[in-house]
Amino acid sequence: MTDSFALYVHAPFCVRKCRYCEFASEELRDTSQADEVVDGILREARTRACEEPWRDRTLHSLYLGGGTPSLLLPDQVLRLVYGLQEVFSLQEGAECTIEANPGTLSPSRLDAWLELGLERVSLGVQSLQESVLHTLGRIHTADLARRAYQTLVDAGFPRINVDLIFGTCTDKVFDGWRDTLDEVIRWQPEHVSAYSLILEKGTPLYHDHERGLQVKVDEEIELQLFKYTIEALEEAGYLHYEVSNWAGSARERSRHNLSYWDGSPYLAIGPAGHSFDGDRTRWWNHRDSQQWLNMVQKEGSGKAAEEVLSPLMRYEEIIMLGLRMIEGVEEVRAVAAATDAGRDWPPESLDMLLERRLLLAEGGRIRFSREGLMIADEVIAHLLRDV
C-alpha cells in the first residue's frame, strides 16, 4: 500500500453551521466563494502532486468532506474532481466518497456525482428525532433525511454511509435513539457511523451547557446508548470495525477512514486539512479558509505547520490508533514500534489490563474487550502511562 495514498479534500462551507460543530466551516455566501475554493484546491493539488511522497503515487481513495461538499453545484464538483484527476491518478476501483447533507440533494447534483464515480455517499442524518435535530441545529427535518436516503438509493448509489449522533438530551432519549437506529438499520445502508455527542469548546451547544442547560445525557445513559448501538448493529449483521464505525461487510469498511488508523499516508487539501506522509511527518493547513486561500494563491500551498514524530511518538500513535480498531493492533507491529523507540514491549501494565479482561490478546493481536472499549481512552492512557 505504500505506493498509494488517501486524498481528503475539504469544502469549508455549509448552509448554516450546526450548533455542535467545531470543524472549519462557515456559511456559504455565494457561488463565487465556492468557485474560489475549488480554484484554490486545484492549485494546492498541483503543488502537492509534484512533491514527495505523493508524486508517482496513486490514490486508493478520494474523500470530499467538509463542511458540506454536497453544496457544490454540479459544474463546480465536475471541475473539482476532473481537476484532481488531472494531477493525481486514481486507482481502478478506488473508494470515492462525498459527504452530503440531506437538505442539499438535487437530481442534477446526484447525476454529476455518479458521472464522476463518487459512488459512495456519506449522508449526515444524525438523528430521526425532530427535537434532537433541533437541538443540534441541523438544517433538515427527519422526513427530509428519510427522503434523501431513498433518493440516493433510487439514484443507484451502491455505497451509502449514514452518520448518526447519540447522547443529545431530549424528552425520550433512549426510545428516540432506539427508533432512529432501528429505522436506519431497516434502510440497510452499507455503512453506519455513530458518534456520541461531544461538547466542543466554543460551539453554541457548549455555550448552552455552560449556561447550565442540559444538552448532553449523563455518562450512564451514554453508556447504555453506546451498548445498545453495538448490540443492535451487530444483531443486524453489521461488522463493528472501529469504535464508531460499522460496515455491512468487511469490504464495505471505509478504506479512507482506515488509513487514518492504520498508519498509511494521507494527503489533505483545503483549509484545516491534516496530512501524514506515512512515515514521520504530520502537517496541517491553515484553519481559516480565507487565510488558507491567500496562502494558496500566493505560494500554492496553504500549509501552516508540521510536526516530525519521534520514534516514541510513533509508538504511542500505533498503539493509540491501532487499538481503536476493533480487531486491534498487531503485536509484531507494536513490538517493532516499541523497539524503534527504545522501549520494552509489553508495557508494564499490559498484564494487569489483560488479567482484568479490559484488553484481550488473541491471534497475535491486542484488542479491546467490550468492557475495555467503553473506557478505551482511560485504558490506552494507562497502557502508555510509563512509556
Binding site: 481528503y8 470543524f23 468532506g65 455513530a194 458518534y195 456520541s196 461531544i198 455518562e219 450512564e220 451514554e222 453508556l223 453506546f226 469504535v243 464508531s244 477512514n257 487514518y260 494521507y266 489533505a268 486539512g273 491534516h274 496530512s275 501524514f276 504530520r282 496541517w284 510536526e307 511518538m313 504511542e316 500513535e317 493509540m320 490508533l321 501494565s349 494487569m352 489490563l353 482484568r356 479490559l358 472499549l373 467503553m374 473506557i375 478505551a376 481512552d377 482511560e378 485504558v379 490506552i380 492512557a381 494507562h382 502508555l384 502511562r385
Partner: protein, 602 residues
C-alpha cells in the same frame, strides 16, 4: 575591650505581625548600624521563607553602638528570638543570653498567647521587661486598653510603657534611652574561667559550624582551646568577633559580650543551642550553664520522593538542610506503597511545613509526605520502654502492655464571647480543663491539657476559624500519659497501604476511619475498575467507601486525520496519571497521603 557596664543585651518578644522586624530595623537605623545603602526591610529575617511567612525562624543577633544622653557610648546587642511555639526552646536560650526584653504589643490587637508565653519565659529568666506598644499610628489603635492589659499582665506603672510606631519611627529615641537606663548591664566575672552560652548556630559553607555566643564569665581569645560541654568536643578558636551586619573579627570576647566563634567544627550538631563553651584546660573546674536540652523532635512524618529516582537527591537535600538545622532528624525508611524515603522528626508542625517547603522550593523536589505522628512511649510486657513514632512499627496488641502519649499544657487566649466554642473544641480534642483567668474584661486565658497528637493536626486552624481569628494559642510539653492508642489501617482494594496508616485514640478510631475513607473517596478519581477503600483496626473493618468504576470514557469521534490532536489529549491524560501514585493497580493522587490533615470537621 568594652567595659561590661556599657553593654546592654536585650531581645524582643512579639507576636507575628506585631512589628518586631520593623522595630529592629528602626533601632539599627537610629544607631547607624545600618546605612542607607544597606537599608533593606527587616534585615534580621534573612531567609525568603521567613519574610514570606513573617516568622523569624533562626535567631540571629546584631550589635549596635548607641551614644546615650549621658554622652557615653553603649554597645547594644539585640538577640533575636524565633516567633513560633515550635521553637520555644530556642527562644528560652536566646532569652538566657539577654538581661532585658522589649515586650512589643500591637496597639490594635493587644497581647497574644505566644507573646504571653514568651513573656513568662522572660520573667522566669529574670529579664527586665520593657513594655512597648507598637503601631500607635494605626487608626484602629486602642493604646489605653492595651496599656491596661499590659499593666494587668506585668504589673507595671502606666508611665513605664513606651509607645512607638516602628513604621514612622516615633518613640524610637525614647526606646533606646529606656534600653540603656532600664536593662541592667550584664553580670558575670571577668576574672573567672571563660564560659559562654551558645544561643544559636549556623552553618557556613566556607567556615563550617559557627556558634553564636554570649560570654557569661571571663574572656575567650583567638587561638584558645575550647571545649563544648554537652557534646564533649574540643576545638581551637580560629576566629571570633562581633556581629554587625557582617561578622567583624576581633581578638577576644569578654564577659557580657555577644558574638560568634569559628572553630574547626564542621558539624552543626556539635554547636548545640544551649551548650556551654569553656576553656579546655578548665573544663573540669567549671560548671555547665543550666537549661540545656537535647533538641527533641515532637512530630514525625515520612517524606518520599514522588519519583523514586529522586531518592538520592532527597538525601542530599536533607543533608544540606541539616547542616543548618540541628533539630531536623531523618532516617531512611522504606514503604511498600511509596518506596524509599525518610522518616523525619520535626520540632512541630510549622517546622515540618517549613522543611517540606524548602525541600520543594530550594531543591526542586516533588515530595509525598505521610500523616504526621507524635512520638509515643510503648511499654512492653516486661516493662521495657520503646519509642514509637511510625505507625508501621505499631506492634500487635498482644506484644505490649500499654502505650503512653505525650501531653502538652495549652494556653488559649480568646475574647470572652468565644469561650464556648474554644471549650467545645478542646473537649473534642480530648482536652482536660485546668483553669481559666480573665486577662481583662474582654479576654480570657484558658488552660487545658491536651494530647499532643490532637494539637499537631489542625487544632490551630480550627481554633482560628471558630474564634474568627481572634484566639491565640501556645503550648508546652508536660509529660506522658497512658492512653488507649490503636493503629488505623487503610486498605485499598483489600491491600493495606502502609503509608496511610496512623496511630489514633481508640475513642476516635471510628470517626477517623469514616472521615478518612470518605476523604479518600473524594480524592481518588474514578478508574477502570471499582476501588474499595476500607479502614480497619487489627484486621477488623470499621468503615468503607467505594469509588465506582469509570463507566464510559472513549471519544467516540474521529477528528478526521487530526491525529496530533488526539495525541495531545492522550498526553494530557498521561500527565494527570504521572501526578498519581500507583498502588497496585490503583492510582492515588499524591495529596491523598495527607488527606487526614484536611478532613473537614463536621
Amino acid at each position: 575591650m568594652p567595659d561590661s557596664a556599657y553593654i546592654r543585651n536585650f531581645c524582643i518578644i512579639a507576636h507575628i505581625d506585631h512589628g518586631k522586624s520593623t522595630l529592629a530595623d528602626r533601632l539599627l537605623e537610629a544607631t547607624a548600624a545600618l546605612d542607607a545603602k544597606r537599608m533593606r526591610e527587616q534585615v534580621l529575617d534573612s531567609m525568603d521563607l521567613e519574610q514570606e511567612r513573617g516568622i523569624t525562624i533562626k535567631a540571629h543577633a546584631i550589635t549596635m553602638d548607641y551614644k546615650a544622653h549621658d554622652d557615653s557610648t553603649y554597645t547594644l546587642n539585640l538577640v533575636d528570638t524565633p516567633g513560633h511555639v515550635d521553637f520555644s526552646y530556642e527562644v528560652s536560650r536566646s532569652l538566657a543570653a539577654a538581661e532585658g526584653a522589649l515586650l512589643v504589643v500591637d496597639a490594635a490587637q493587644g497581647a497574644e498567647a505566644q507573646t504571653i508565653a514568651n513573656l513568662y519565659l522572660a520573667v522566669e529568666a529574670g529579664l527586665e521587661i520593657i513594655p512597648v506598644i507598637n503601631k500607635i499610628d494605626l487608626p484602629s489603635a486602642r493604646p489605653d486598653e492595651v496599656t491596661q492589659q499590659l499593666i494587668d499582665l506585668i504589673g507595671c506603672d502606666p508611665d513605664e510603657i513606651l509607645k512607638v510606631s516602628a513604621k514612622t519611627g516615633e518613640g524610637v529615641p525614647a526606646l533606646l534611652e529606656a534600653i540603656v537606663k532600664r536593662v541592667p548591664p550584664p553580670g558575670g566575672n571577668l576574672e573567672a574561667p571563660a564560659r559562654a552560652l551558645i544561643f544559636d548556630s549556623m552553618y557556613d559553607n566556607y567556615r563550617g559550624a559557627i556558634a553564636y555566643v554570649r560570654v557569661v564569665d571571663g574572656t575567650l581569645k583567638l587561638d584558645d582551646e575550647v571545649f563544648f560541654y554537652q557534646t564533649e568536643q574540643r576545638y581551637e578558636i580560629n576566629e571570633l568577633g562581633v556581629l554587625r551586619l557582617e561578622r567583624l573579627p576581633r581578638k577576644q570576647l569578654s564577659v557580657g559580650e555577644v558574638g560568634y566563634l569559628v572553630t574547626g567544627c564542621k558539624d552543626i550538631h556539635h554547636t548545640r543551642v544551649g551548650d556551654t563553651v569553656v576553656a579546655y584546660e578548665k573544663r573540669k573546674e567549671v560548671k555547665a550553664l543550666p537549661g540545656y536540652r537535647e533538641p527533641k523532635p515532637m512530630v514525625f512524618s515520612g517524606l518520599f520522593p514522588a519519583d523514586h529516582e529522586d531518592f538520592e537527591d532527597l538525601r542530599d537535600a536533607l543533608d544540606r538542610l541539616a547542616l543548618n538545622d540541628a533539630s531536623l532528624r531523618y532516617d531512611p525508611e522504606s514503604s511498600t506503597a511509596l518506596g524509599f524515603g525518610f522518616r523525619c522528626g520535626f520540632l512541630g508542625l510549622l517546622h515540618m511545613e517549613i522543611i517540606q517547603e524548602r525541600l520543594e522550593r530550594e531543591f526542586d523536589l516533588n515530595l509525598i509526605s505521610t500523616v504526621p505522628s507524635v512520638r509515643f512511649k510503648l511499654v512492653r510486657m516486661d516493662g521495657k520502654e520503646e519509642w514509637l513514632s511510625n505507625p508501621v512499627d505499631f506492634p500487635d496488641p498482644t506484644q505490649f502492655d500499654h502505650i503512653e502519649e505525650p501531653i502538652v499544657r495549652g494556653q488559649v487566649i480568646t475574647p470572652t464571647e468565644y469561650v464556648g466554642p474554644v471549650m467545645q473544641l478542646s473537649q473534642d480534642r480530648r482536652g482536660t480543663f485546668v483553669t481559666q483567668e480573665y486577662l481583662d474584661a474582654n479576654r480570657v486565658n484558658i488552660i487545658y491539657d491536651y494530647p499532643l497528637a490532637e494539637v499537631v493536626f489542625d487544632f490551630y486552624d480550627r481554633l482560628k476559624s471558630q474564634t474568627r481569628g481572634y484566639a491565640s494559642f501556645d503550648y508546652e510539653f508536660s509529660g506522658f500519659e497512658t492512653s488507649k492508642m490503636v493503629r488505623l489501617d487503610i486498605l485499598i482494594n483489600g491491600e493495606p497501604v502502609d503509608a496511610l496508616s496512623m496511630i489514633v485514640h481508640d475513642d476516635k478510631a471510628y470517626e477517623w476511619g469514616r472521615r478518612v475513607v470518605d476523604k479518600l473517596k473524594e480524592l481518588i478519581p474514578r478508574q477502570m475498575f471499582e476501588v474499595a477503600i476500607q479502614a480497619a483496626i487489627s484486621g477488623k473493618v470499621i468503615a468503607r467507601s467505594t469509588v465506582k468504576a469509570l463507566r464510559k470514557n472513549v471519544l467516540a469521534k474521529c477528528y478526521g486525520g487530526d491525529v496530533t490532536r488526539k495525541r495531545k489529549l492522550l498526553e494530557k491524560q498521561k500527565e494527570g496519571k504521572k501526578r498519581m501514585k500507583q498502588l497496585g493497580s490503583v492510582e492515588v493522587p499524591q495529596e491523598a497521603f495527607l488527606a487526614v490533615l484536611k478532613v473537614d470537621d463536621q
